[in-house]
Symmetry: C2
């Protein structure tokens, strides 16, 4: 195998696929990047795989001799990122001679580096999708949806289906207000985002085509894969293609491909958790609420609880925190309040995550009693519903 390509193409694609390389590769060959050079198409393809997530990227280069080799990911990255921005030649025996290791030689100007590789055939094939379920998803809609809810997915592997984001489509909406719905919850809080197709960057005709194709969509995708998907945007692409069957999902954008296991098992019927009516409502400046929470959280120490006190007469929301033997904090901010005054307490971290994921200038908080779910929504922009359960106030 012998290829000649630009340092920047090699570096960028390598950095992208390397995100799928596991920290503790098992089997060891997964600590490598698979490199395949195809003489006919003059294409170089790189693949990394951790057993569940696989990432693949291709780019054009000069393929003098086709072939395949697996190279240690970290070393390969470290070398390529330190080489000057110029043409790089990668040359590699075919490993046919016995008793010799497969050695890859990278050369550029006055540099020459050799690293021991492995036979490319030892690298496992990425799983394929057995059905021809293919949908197209506008990239900007997908990214917005993820931004608003990815953080709420559980990080505990034992929580299985909750470690993913549930993606579904509007069922009987007309093409005009068709949307994708994203939901994530770790059982303490829930974030639901509706991203409308007419906010997407694809053309109107294509929008309705896409929407029609999507009527039955309901898949749960691992959050880990979606975090990588956020970085996968390819130049000149406005949509991802998503192929899926009962066990695998494959995203494609241009020359970049991301494979992931699909999370199976029923996703909880989260719509039922969101109260239909509320007896109290508060509207306030979102950034001010964030900085107030940041200030009082300093005194929250371990229990991490903040109390919200509503004062409709003074149109004031007061946050307070009290940690015996350490100190206490109180911060008030102006707010429009309807409903009776009440004290209600939250875990600060859960509150912060959700309020930060909403991007409008003002935020609306709706609640019933101190022990019932509370929802936060933006006053404009992307339609996010963030639900948190309050906590009991110690007295």
């Amino acid at each position: 195998m012998k290829i000649i390509c630009s340092q920047s193409d090699l570096k960028n694609n390598l950095a992208f696929v390397s995100r799928a390389v596991p920290a503790r590769p098992e089997p060891l060959v997964l600590g490598n990047i698979l490199l395949v050079a195809d003489e006919t198409s003059q294409k170089i393809t790189m693949t990394a795989f951790d057993g569940s997530l696989g990432i693949r990227a291709s780019f054009q280069g000069e393929v003098v001799d086709g072939g395949t080799v697996a190279l240690p990911a970290k070393l390969f990255n470290d070398i390529v990122s330190r080489l000057p921005e110029m043409e790089i030649t990668l040359d590699c025996g075919d490993g046919r001679e016995e008793d010799t290791n497969l050695v890859a030689t990278l050369s550029a100007a006055s540099s020459k580096l050799q690293i021991n590789g492995m036979d490319g055939s030892e690298f496992p094939e990425l799983p394929t999708v057995a059905s021809d379920n293919v949908v197209e998803l506008p990239i900007n809609i997908l990214l917005e949806g993820l931004k608003g809810c990815l953080f709420a997915a559980s990080t505990e592997l034992a929580k299985q289906v909750l470690t993913g984001v549930h993606l579904s489509s509007s069922q009987d909406a007309s093409a005009d207000d068709a949307f994708l719905e994203f939901a994530a919850t770790d059982s303490h809080r829930l974030s639901v985002v509706r991203a409308f197709f007419n906010d997407s960057e694809v053309e109107e005709d294509t929008q309705s085509d896409i929407a029609e194709n999507l009527t039955d969509l309901a898949v749960t995708i691992p959050a880990r894969a979606l975090r990588e998907l956020e970085k996968m945007v390819s130049e000149g692409q406005s949509t991802f293609k998503m192929r899926y069957d009962n066990s695998q999902i494959v995203f494609e954008a241009g020359e970049r491909v991301l494979n992931t296991l699909r999370l199976t098992g029923a996703y909880p019927p989260y719509e039922r958790l969101i109260p239909a009516t509320f007896s109290r409502q508060i509207t306030c400046d979102r950034k001010r609420l964030i900085s107030s929470l940041e200030l009082v959280s300093v005194l929250a120490q371990k229990n991490n609880i903040v109390k919200f006190s509503l004062n409709s007469t003074d149109e004031e929301l007061t946050l307070s925190v009290d940690t015996p033997d350490v100190g206490s904090a109180k911060q008030s901010l102006p707010a429009e309040i309807t409903g009776e005054d009440i004290d209600i307490a939250f875990n600060i971290k859960y509150l912060m995550d959700g309020i930060k994921a909403i991007s409008s200038a003002e935020i609306k908080m709706q609640l019933n009693e101190w022990n019932q779910p509370v929802i936060f929504t933006p006053l404009s922009g992307l339609q996010v519903t963030y639900l948190v359960m309050p906590v009991q106030i110690r007295n």
Copy 2:
């Protein structure tokens, strides 16, 4: 005690003194910042101390009631840095009522925070200097000197005097070419910097005054204290005052003071280590040498050794690294070479530290044999001599 001051004054001075707060305070009171408010001078002074290093800073504020209190450093910092940029009132009982804790109340606009403090009298006094040895040191000279050698001091406490930088003055040089000499070594490498007074930013007359006062200077200062000293530069100050006796050193710049233990014991006679003559000399581009070392170091793995091969015929310096079972790297760069060709090897880290601390565009390397000390010097600018011992090449 009651003071009113600006958030930024409080924040900046607090951040500065907090660098002396130990990670594991022993006794516990050292985890606090001592705050002293003086009604007469309307000055607020903050002090932190870790038992060996002490930092103190004062600033003007409105002192309504004088007094003193010790407040938990981390909490105090966290609060002040999150308060908005405006006037802050700090109010604190005098602790006279028994059975009550000393509580400090910080208030600003709609925020009110209370933290438990300790009686200021429990905070130890910073050590004082018993003699009237006082010298003045131009700040920019001191900073340049430190930049060129601080990194070479040992980080192993057991190496005692080597954990410091040795500061001495030119003995019999005329005022015109008077200098300060900075030396640091961890026994593997040595960096010596000569900083000349006529490069300083103080006026010429003052320069000679300062130089005359300095003729007998020879002190070893802990590197840890010097790292903080680098951050101590005060507005409108061009010199530090340094007071010292046999056990303590105190640096003063404007309203900022830094106290440190002095390292005792004879500093090794390092001048003798530097060879007087060399049989070989190489000059090359410094940045190119750094990037070449960075590239080949990727393949150096654990042993961390690079071989320099001199080729005077081709005017080329070749760096090479070889790690069995992993790979190898070779990188050549143009160099002016005098003397016979030779192979010589170094620890990459030691080499890098020194070459990075030198700031000229080109660097000169002088050596005799493969097992004798090598020195690196800049072709212009600050006078740095960096000495490293080569290592044996495995064959």
